[in-house]
Assembly symmetry: C2
Homo-oligomer: 199 residues x 2
């Protein structure tokens, strides 16, 4: 509904765009401060954004749709593989796992994981953030198989978990304090490409 | 202080052992029902276990020490590697990652992860569960290097993250609904041993 408000335009971006941004920001601020996706309310978001509830409902049918947009905004789009080599593309994508430009993500994402398991709606919100990232990685692996760079019998979904898992547990769970994170994406990709068995 | 209470013994296990078990069980029940490690109180645990607070303080100096024991009880000891082959031992240990005999663990563990990041005390509780599992895996990998089965230049900490990560994100985070978990430990170990590059 951008640009359809009857209020006079202020200079710069349309008023409704600014309101939408304020609503998204208020949602992310509240989540980062500890509101759960279960407990957060349209009332609280409206109050924090300095808008009326009606302004939120003009743009989003309900809390789920607003959270969907807010969480996608938080994580941004996955990086675009360059397409020169499977190794380089995987390092790019693996390096982005659990790496957040927005500092609020470090507070919101770990708490989302247990919440995601509580209902199908919450799980869908969580998958809506992850699936674009998985899709980008899946495409690189399939390209590698087609080009003969990767084993023809590769289990793509298992391989994605092997590339993503080490980064996620280390960056999101802070799994091992003795693990040096410098160069971890390269080490993970090269370790998996070559294998660890002595030859 | 097992056996030092002045009450007459009932048949079977000593009274203080039964009290300690009830206290551990009450702690785990409360955590599984959604109490955070921040919010859970000695008062609530005593009430749930049907004991006085003094009974708890006779055995544990405070909440941190009680949570330490309760969470270790919840997870149990890691499985013992057989020592026949690195591959078999790794499959055993990888298969145990995120696998919980106690159904309460599935409710408690994911919520522990974000809480663990909030203070050094909480992080220590979390590491106290994980470190015995990492130690067992580290020993198998070091044995494999010494025996010449694994690459001499292997980064052991990175390799542990690569073995643990896929299991943890799938079992604890329910990361990818399209990933078939059947045989996942074998697939992870074999994929990492051999590598994914075409030959």
């Amino acid at each position: 509904m951008t640009g359809t408000t009857d209020a006079p335009r202020s200079p710069g971006r349309p008023r409704s765009t600014r309101a939408a941004e304020a609503i998204i920001e208020a949602t992310l601020d509240l989540l980062a401060e500890g509101s759960t996706i279960e407990a957060i309310s349209i009332e609280a978001i409206a109050a924090r954004a300095g808008v009326g509830k009606a302004t939120i409902y003009r743009r989003w049918p309900g809390k789920g749709a607003l959270l969907h947009d807010a969480l996608r905004t938080l994580k941004g789009a996955p990086p675009q593989p360059v397409g020169r080599s499977v190794r380089e593309d995987l390092i790019l994508l693996v390096g982005a796992v659990g790496h957040n430009l927005d500092p609020r993500a470090a507070k919101i994402m770990p708490c989302l994981v247990p919440e995601a398991q509580r209902s199908p709606e919450h799980y869908a919100l969580y998958q809506n953030i992850i699936e674009p990232r998985r899709a980008a990685m899946r495409e690189v692996l399939r390209r590698g198989i087609r080009a003969g760079e990767l084993r023809a019998d590769l289990d793509v979904e298992v391989t994605m978990a092997m590339l993503t898992g080490p980064m996620l547990i280390q960056r999101v769970m802070n799994w091992n304090p003795d693990l040096d994170e410098a160069g971890l994406p390269e080490k993970v990709v090269d370790g998996l490409l070559a294998g660890i068995r002595a030859r």
